[in-house]
Symmetry: D2
Subunit: 294 residues, 4 copies
């Protein structure tokens, strides 16, 4: 299999998916790239660039060795697999299905079991990074599930991402994403408290940002979100309600494992307060509105 070029498929051509599929196509590493999208018209651009198109997920899967998917949410991910003419209708012994959508562990496990039961192989591969890294092939890929399939995907992962990790059995990648996003939510909560305390105590927020940016805590998130907070403007890169949901799920995971998480629990309450203020659809940095307003 190392010698022959593979035929690969791609389900879901949203902002992320189209960029990822294009990178597969442009790499020249694959015999063919067959794409599908719920709204088929969205396939035209990639077809004009050399991709094939199929009319259903089943058709993609049955014509490809490995099919990748990047779908909007758990419902879309489940529909693509279990729906009429879904992945399960095209899967057969040896075929690989790699779901890179962000879904919860239960959804991922359900899909993985169904694919495996049908003789296929399954990898879950949620990513860290959004539009720009997708275009630049700089995503971080968290992989779990079938180890052999994961290894076989390395050329594709190298095209779509800057680094991939194999984390264990199906579900491990979903958990890792929760852990990462929990740390992110708590950090954002901590940051907003610092910004609010600076302002209340008569310090310039710009000075705080500069000082943080020069020290051991310097990180791209503070650098990016600090000015947004100062201008009280929160165009959604990662919607606050999704951050709060991830905190909730991470706390539930901690709960099931008897792992106390008091900082995350406090941060979660701040995000809930921000949701109650109508900030659920704003960027998650809008938790500042709850921190400051109180």
């Amino acid at each position: 299999m190392a010698d022959a070029k593979l035929n690969v498929g791609f389900l879901g051509l949203g902002i992320m998916g189209e960029a990822m599929a294009r990178n597969l196509l442009k790499s020249g590493l694959f015999a063919s790239v067959t794409v599908w999208n719920r709204t088929l018209a969205k396939c035209q651009t990639l077809v004009s660039e050399g991709a094939k198109m199929a009319e259903t997920p089943a058709a993609v899967v049955s014509s490809c060795d490995i099919t990748f998917a990047m779908l909007a949410d758990p419902d879309a991910a489940l529909a693509a697999v279990f729906g009429d003419n879904g992945v399960l209708k095209g899967i057969s012994a040896g075929k690989g299905y790699v779901d890179m959508s962000t879904v919860d562990e239960a959804t991922s496990t359900k899909i993985g079991e169904a694919v495996t039961a049908a003789g296929g192989r399954f990898v879950e591969g949620p990513v860290s990074g959004s539009k720009k890294p997708a275009i630049d092939g700089q995503l971080i890929i968290m992989g779990a599930g079938d180890k052999e399939l994961y290894e076989q995907c390395q050329p594709a992962f190298r095209v779509m991402g800057k680094k991939s990790f194999y984390l264990g059995a199906t579900g491990a990648a979903a958990r890792m994403k929760l852990v990462v996003n929990m740390v992110m939510g708590s950090m954002m909560g901590a940051f907003c408290e610092g910004m609010a305390l600076a302002e209340k105590s008569g310090l310039e927020q710009t000075a705080l940002l500069e000082i943080l940016g020069l020290g051991a805590m310097a990180n791209p998130m503070f650098a990016l979100k600090g000015p947004a907070i100062m201008s009280r403007s929160y165009p959604p890169a990662f919607p606050l309600k999704h951050q709060q949901k991830d905190l909730r799920l991470a706390l539930a995971l901690g709960d099931s494992l008897n792992q106390p998480l008091p900082v995350a629990a406090a941060a979660n309450e701040s995000f809930k307060a921000a949701k109650a203020l109508g900030r659920g659809d704003d960027d998650f940095a809008a938790v500042y509105e709850a921190t400051q307003q109180k």
Copy 2:
């Protein structure tokens, strides 16, 4: 004053102070650098490199235009100013005193008022950064107090640090340091919860560290402290009890300003739990022991 070279002094030749005084000396920007240390023998090395020595803080101040100080703690800072043959005995109209020690706002204000009452000018200038940045002249200097003196110190600050900030009236720099350290404590609390949840949920902590290190939250602190946490080894760079004290003081500042800080309050409780476990003298990353142990 821009033309004539200044005579400058330096009080306190600990690990940080000696390096800072040496940078002043090596710069060649000053007519003389006169040093003092409570244990006078510690002055010999710098004297052999070209510095002058004086036997008391008063003697330093009376022979210099601007005297810098880097003392161990508030008690040492107060003793150097108010003690026998202290700074106040040498200060006079126009002389500048720049205390770069880390002290609380009340201590700084007390020193500033006494220096000013004696006709002198005062700047508080706590720094961010430890031994290595002090040697490399890469400290971050938070300045407050007499604006004119602060400006006059710019050449010296550029020799000792990579960046300085003027933050307002005396006390502002002490407050800024509290805000920065509050964010740091909450971030460390959040990070340790992530590390603990990773372990409890069967994920490799190294994978979490790598993934965090590649994303928007990447920061030197996680990179440095992550391996320490994994090896459960906490040689003190910043003692946990000091981190907890700063959280307590920041919460008190928030209290006085009616600024709720729930994430910092939760983090503070975790640091208190770690102190109760006997980790007060370990590095502040040892809050992991309380997070994990619970």
Copy 3:
């Protein structure tokens, strides 16, 4: 219906259920009391006191106007309704089913919808109080669902409880129980912190208990659990893991309604810490072990 005596049934003769059924029987208010228990032998005592026995839930329901149930948990409550020869097999137009088990809102709603779809009427009626109040007919009954049936149950409720409340559509009683138990968990957390702080600061815990017992906060729970905490002995009246579960569910309810609950969230983390210490099966007062131990 006010004139004719009703035939009533009772499913589930555990500690609580047997006492409740006996109170119905002894009241003389009903034409007959028909009982069922998964282990039928448990029916003998009540039969010897005058009750009838039926071999299945369906048989009870088909022979009674109103059937009460007091089952161990959601699984048992669902099995009694949806299982072979379950309640649904005996229900018909006009018959009433009153589930007094402690179940979550989803379970209660599922049962209520099925009973209603089969033409029956449904009331959920979880109680506050345990063995002794059940024996003494002093339970507090939280009712929700079919208002007419609730009113019709008043004579029975007066026999089993000291007070009943109609709270709204099915689900309202389950929610009320969560709210009550959330307050209870936070209060216990607060109490244990007071007990721990008293001890750490050199005060007698007995004095704290007496002082609390004489003031505006005096309540039976502190009076009962205080001595248990002092003796570090926690025979389970209400298992800690159930208290923690109720806190979790209440937080999830608050989450779904954008209601921040920071005190409950902090208390929940303490209960989780106690679970991690192996105290899940002890009485919920054992949260003291986590509070004190830290």
Copy 4:
């Protein structure tokens, strides 16, 4: 001393103090009751009822065996002792001074040391209970300091209160009051979260109050404050800013003893949020405004 009737004094005739002095007077147990108030005119009523009056604290103390004080706050308590013609000017070997004001441990210790240094004996005796219990002689008295003097005060304490406790060396009573008020603040925070969640989830708050009032958590505070919360009306019995201050001091006490107090810390943040909403002078039940508003 058991045989001879004592001459007793009383400093401070505010709402509480006047009622307490009157109870001493009416008891007939003392040879005389000499009163003083900063505004002397306030003494007239008690003089008309049989009390003596003195023009300074020193004059009261020098003419009495034991002098009780009930002053507004730490500043008033310190002024009565250390001011011109203060207690210290009248104290001498064997005389007793019993400060029943609510003051912090540091203030109490300072007064106790001064009285003792002057040859006197000192008891701190803060009370639990407000106007009505003071009139009815039903206060709860927390005593600490000189044990012999405490015993000698028993007849007076029985006249003013329903129960007194000896808690240890000076400072113990101040600490006990903090512990009690910390539990109170957390309980109120928990209660308000329950009230808010009830409302958000469509339950009647009156039903919650009734149910809580019938169960193991039933307590006078919920019964009294519940209706206040429902009407959103908070006439100050115990001002919110004082409750928040006591939480802060209790947390600081826990901090000094390495006792984590996460529930109290979360409650404190809620009270701070209520202060930020301008509720500091309202009754402490107004923390509901922060809980509900978020």
